[in-house]
């Protein structure tokens, strides 16, 4: 064996090592707050976790697959209402609402993915945005009031921790969310490596070439939409439990814009970016509020623009660039 190849072999053996260590540290850092922070802070972190799952969904379809969706708030809302209705009207336990929301949103996502095949870029963006704008009106519709509770919304309760565990509901929900998030990230990570992941990226970057290489475009794109909707829907169901309330006003078009902002700031096509983006959309509005009561929207807008200047690839993009420079390739 030559020197270079033996060096490569050594580093190849060493690389998974430090990755595993990083992952273990990350897991510990994620679980520890449950026992150190106040209930309120845990609630905030739970919200970050929930948005991270939602952004993961958005990232799958827009970041990795290039189909621009400005309407993911609609899937979030759908998941939230499915969860709330099941809990309030049918006494379904909280953990069972997640798979239910996943199933329903996957189905709707697939249905939305079908016409989306015909549209690209701007047109898809507008169409999905139209969906987001229509959601509050649909939720308020008299005909559905029996299910949705109309403008008054639905009130539900946070679950108590399973018997025996001495945790507060907020602590338990945080750990539960962490578990679901880890599962979601694992699922996506698994999906994206290997042939399927390459095919997905190929569709984004060069659809014609991808098709020429034998990638069944239509089948992939619709399924990706379904997966993405499913993830965001699960996030919505979790969100409903965390907030203990759903109402049409919680899901205005601003939610879709917020998710989109989280996607861009966190970093397109990056799993870690989903977490960074989620932190941005949860914490920066509060910062903007502290800075100015007279025009907090303007402060938020300025911070957003500044972020995009400094990191056009998002936080994850910046981190990747720095990591590359430091030699962690």
């Amino acid at each position: 064996m030559s020197v270079s190849s033996s060096l490569a072999a050594t580093s190849a053996r060493a690389r998974p090592g430090w990755r595993a260590v990083l992952l273990a540290l990350g897991a510990a850092a994620a679980v520890l707050p449950a026992f150190l922070l106040s209930d309120y802070r845990l609630f905030q972190l739970t919200t970050v976790g929930i948005y991270a799952i939602a952004l993961l969904g958005l990232n799958v379809v827009t970041g990795y697959n290039g189909q621009i969706s400005l309407g993911h708030g609609a899937f979030y809302a759908l998941g939230a209402y499915v969860g709330a209705i099941l809990m309030a009207d049918y006494d379904v336990p909280y953990w069972a609402t997640l798979p239910a929301a996943a199933l329903v949103c996957a189905g709707v996502g697939y249905a939305v993915g079908l016409p989306a095949l015909r549209l690209g870029g701007l047109y898809l963006a507008l169409t999905t945005f139209a969906l987001a704008v229509a959601v509050p009106q649909i939720l308020k519709y008299r005909g559905l009031e029996g299910w949705t509770g109309g403008v008054q919304g639905i009130v539900i309760s946070k679950p108590d921790p399973p018997a025996g565990l001495k945790l507060s509901p907020d602590q338990w929900l945080y750990l539960f969310t962490l578990g679901v998030a880890a599962l979601a990230f694992l699922l996506v990570w698994n999906l994206l490596r290997g042939r399927i992941g390459r095919a997905i990226l190929a569709i984004r970057d060069h659809p014609v070439a991808a098709e020429a290489m034998g990638v069944p475009l239509a089948r992939f794109k619709t399924r990706i939409f379904a997966v993405s909707a499913m993830l965001t829907g699960v996030a919505g169901a979790l969100g409903a439990i965390a907030v203990e309330f759903v109402a049409p006003d919680s899901f205005s078009f601003q939610l879709s814009i917020t998710l989109f902002v989280g996607l861009i700031v966190g970093g397109v096509a990056s799993l870690g970016g989903a977490v960074c983006g989620a932190a941005f959309i949860v914490f920066v509005p509060n910062i903007a509020d502290q800075v100015s009561k007279a025009a907090p929207g303007a402060v938020y807008g300025v911070i957003l623009i500044a972020f995009l200047y400094l990191m056009p690839d998002g936080i994850a993009g910046l981190a990747a660039r720095l990591a590359r420079r430091a030699g962690f390739d």
Binding site: F43, V151, V243, E244, F245, A247, S250, P285, A294, P296
Partner: protein, 403 residues
């Protein structure tokens, strides 16, 4: 000898320490020098117009502190932006209650937003005082004893209008235009309360609009073609002005009744065209700052002086500043009644013990009353008609029915 002095010294020190600890936190959010109050309101997003209420209250409490505070304590008014989004309201309210440890939440704005935290506040036994919306549900003292509204409920107002219509025009054909949210739907509910089974025959057409709609012209046309001769409009200022103008422009002359939310001379009638609104009927509990009737009124001048002193650049045609001032005065009365006991229980008890309290910016004769079984502080309104130049009050003060 020595031991006794040591013991005495120790006792004195212990007593000193105890009293210092006592002065530290007398009740949640209350110390010997400060009362912490929390508030959530929309400062960003499409509903950010309401932020004016928060600004008015901030200025008000600053003024109170400048005058020495209350019971020797300064008021620390912490107001946070919730962007009119219920999940954010939950987050901000929890921050105020759990992290800032405020004594109570004052004048939180919005029905969906405050609904999201209503159960939480009652579970935690923190007063959700003088909620800033006219939804009827805030008077539910049985299930939510820690929540109280302030302004007359929209539903009550609609009941008053319906009774008036039936009085004046027994076989009226009524059309309704309402904003498609809790505010608008509360009016429909109030009308239904009075009409009962006759709702479907009396209401010839009922149409809604969304806040994102640019105009309501189409809705007005629909209502006219349905043959209505009475129109009840439950719309916010922009759409109310559009409605008034369109009704006049198409030559339609129904008995037009307008929600109290959109009666401001400066914010609705001037833009719409004062001549176009002649004959418009509404009801009010406040004095309108832009109505010449109250030009020299003592109570209004008190408010004007307050604005000039503390918010000189503010737009005086904005009713929200008046609203914030009025609610704050009410709160001061509650705090005064508390004496030295600012525990949450006592604050709630005093809020439910208002007797004939008058607020100078409300119509003469309106008295605030609350009790353990009455959580609607203001229940009186007076009907008024627009003359083209000012609002002419008529009739007597009407008390809303118990809903």
């Amino acid at each position: 000898m020595q031991r006794r002095s040591v013991l005495l010294g120790g006792a004195a020190l212990a007593a000193l320490g105890a009293s210092r600890r006592a002065s530290a936190q007398q009740a949640p959010g209350v110390t010997a020098t400060e009362i912490k109050i929390g508030n959530t309101i929309a400062y960003s997003g499409p509903a950010s117009a309401y932020g004016a209420i928060g600004h008015a209250e901030t200025a008000f409490f600053k003024m109170i502190n400048g005058q020495g505070g209350i019971a020797g304590r300064k008021i620390n008014y912490i107001t946070l932006d919730d962007g009119y989004s219920p999940p954010r309201t939950v987050e901000q309210t929890r921050r105020l209650v759990e992290q800032e440890e405020v004594a109570f939440i004052f004048n939180g704005l919005g029905t969906p937003t405050q609904s999201a935290v209503q159960r939480y506040m009652n579970q935690k036994k923190v007063p959700q005082l003088f909620v800033a919306t006219g939804a009827d549900k805030w008077g539910n003292y049985k299930e939510f004893p820690w929540t109280m509204g302030w302004q007359p409920s929209y539903r009550t107002e609609a009941q008053i209008y319906t009774k008036y219509i039936l009085d004046q025009k027994p076989d009226a054909k009524v059309g309704m235009l309402y904003q498609n949210d809790d505010f608008g739907k509360d009016y429909v509910a109030g009308v239904k309360d009075v009409l009962g089974g006759k709702f479907d025959t009396t209401i010839v057409k009922s149409v809604s609009y969304e806040v994102t709609d640019p105009t309501v012209d189409s809705q007005v046309v629909t209502l006219q073609s349905a043959g209505a001769d009475v129109l009840i409009t439950a719309a916010t200022p922009k759409f109310a002005a559009q409605t008034i103008r369109k009704v006049a422009d198409i030559g339609w002359k129904p008995m037009h009744i307008m929600t109290n939310v959109s009666v401001s001379v400066g914010a609705v009638l001037q833009p719409a065209g004062p001549e176009k609104a002649i004959g418009l009927i509404s009801a009010d509990y406040r004095k309108d700052p832009t109505d010449p009737t109250w030009k020299d009124d003592a109570g209004m001048n008190q408010w004007r002086a307050f604005m000039k002193q503390n918010m000189p650049d503010a737009d005086l045609t904005d009713n929200d500043f008046l609203f914030g001032y009025g609610v704050s005065l009410t709160l001061m009365q509650v705090l005064k009644q508390c004496g030295e006991d600012f525990s949450r229980e006592n604050i709630m008890k005093q809020a439910a013990s208002l007797h004939d309290f008058e607020v100078p910016i409300l119509l003469p004769g309106i008295k605030l009353n609350t009790s353990a079984t009455n959580y609607h502080p203001i229940r009186q309104m007076q009907l008024m008609k627009w003359s083209g130049k000012s609002w002419q009050l008529f009739g007597k003060l009407i008390e809303g029915v118990q809903s």
